[in-house]
Symmetry: C2
Subunit: 300 residues, 2 copies
Amino acid sequence: MTSTSISVVEQVPALDAIAVLDALRSAFTELGRGNAAQPPQTVTLLPGGGDVILYQGQLGATYSVKVSPYLPQTDGSAVVTAWTILLDTATGRPELLVDAAGLTVERTSATSALAVDLLARPDAATLAIIGSGAQARAHLRYARAVREFTDVRMFSRSLTQADAPEGVKVAASAAQAVSGADVVLLCTSAGEALIDAASLPPGTVITSISTNVARAHEIDPAALPALDVYGDYRPTVVRSAGEMVIAAERGDWTAEQLRGDLPELLTGACPPPSGTRPVFFRSIGMGLEDLAIARLILEH
Amino acid sequence: MTSTSISVVEQVPALDAIAVLDALRSAFTELGRGNAAQPPQTVTLLPGGGDVILYQGQLGATYSVKVSPYLPQTDGSAVVTAWTILLDTATGRPELLVDAAGLTVERTSATSALAVDLLARPDAATLAIIGSGAQARAHLRYARAVREFTDVRMFSRSLTQADAPEGVKVAASAAQAVSGADVVLLCTSAGEALIDAASLPPGTVITSISTNVARAHEIDPAALPALDVYGDYRPTVVRSAGEMVIAAERGDWTAEQLRGDLPELLTGACPPPSGTRPVFFRSIGMGLEDLAIARLILEH
């Protein structure tokens, strides 16, 4: 009864950073050209509590849907999983079922690095990373694939030099880590500002990721007007990024002030950074990213 | 990379009719009790043309989503497939990926037979089937599991006695087939009325299935007021069944006149047939039915 023509991948294999970056670059370019689809996610409530979020995507001859249930257990804990299924749009047949949890760290950090590649100075050499978990370490790996960083600082409250990745100096504070940095990667699950983004020199690129914390943000919403603000995908980032939602509510900033997103940057449909302000890039995460990386796994 | 803990089933195995009927009876009962979920389907348009319909369901500790793409090809044809994935809601892990195309005939015919079991006289002995394709033959198999039919007639324009199933008499017309029948199973892809339902004796049970034809119907919409009308699931059947939609548009019938559905019949939440009119049962098909049968395959 079990077929071998559909691959089931429960453990995401080690992926080549350059290949992942290329896959994302291609996916966002196709999205900018109208050859890919990123429909809104759908949330379905389960009668016993919990919910299932479905994230769909299409890219070339591949359609994908990620099924991510949030399942409260009787002991008060919750199980959260995510599985992505790829279908070939020529045949309508499934090709791959992959545990998407392992894709999340890869796609999130590679997306931040793609933004760095598109927004940072070519000679950017000093990197600051705030956070020291799996996201921070993956961000480091992907960032090193887009720029030759000669000075890398990392800060988190728990990090000691012994636990730091190779070639990384542990900073005494977030402020010390970002001082003089060309690129700042915020890789935390913070629900409040970690650094004073508006005070950084013009051209400094700051990236920020999403967490499940409601209205989560890693910079002060009030800083947005002083920054060149970019996001991963315009239709979703302005509705979901905590600092953007809060700044818009307060009347400090509007969605029209988003300077561009990755599809626009890759197809020349938005302006590059002004050079007069720090650059802020915020990602939410998209089904299309999972699709692009899952396709790489399939080819693997 | 390929795991054996997730079953991939590309060919639906032969299923025991009694087990399938029990699984559906249990699923509709749980739906009636609020322990199962049948969310509305979602349609996503693909940028290159075509679409994907997602059908979700939850039943006890199982969540399912059926992914059904409609994929136009360059030669003018279209590929339509359907794959159902089951997840265990205790662990959030997928348990089964099954080609749902093979489930459709099973679940449709077993649902009609479940309705016959709930609506027809216990001593119903004469069965008429209109249509002679896969649906008609599967309907026969499931109907025989709920009543002791001693006289079975089948009619379709193309059917000869040599091609008829065992123990089945080929009728010369639809009218001849249904004359004196206790149960009439309409199993065609007709877009118009096949029989004069309102003229059949009180208590005769007529079942009717769905096709892809727009506003498809197997009986005259004008007959509805003269019938005890039931459906598989109230929220979907009154919106989708061609004869109900047309009759409502003409002002001949309203959704409130639907006497009951399967969850209501199984939990005593609607009246039984009046005994004074013929009984009409219309099914649309539901993700929950696929789920119930896929779960059987998993246990297989």
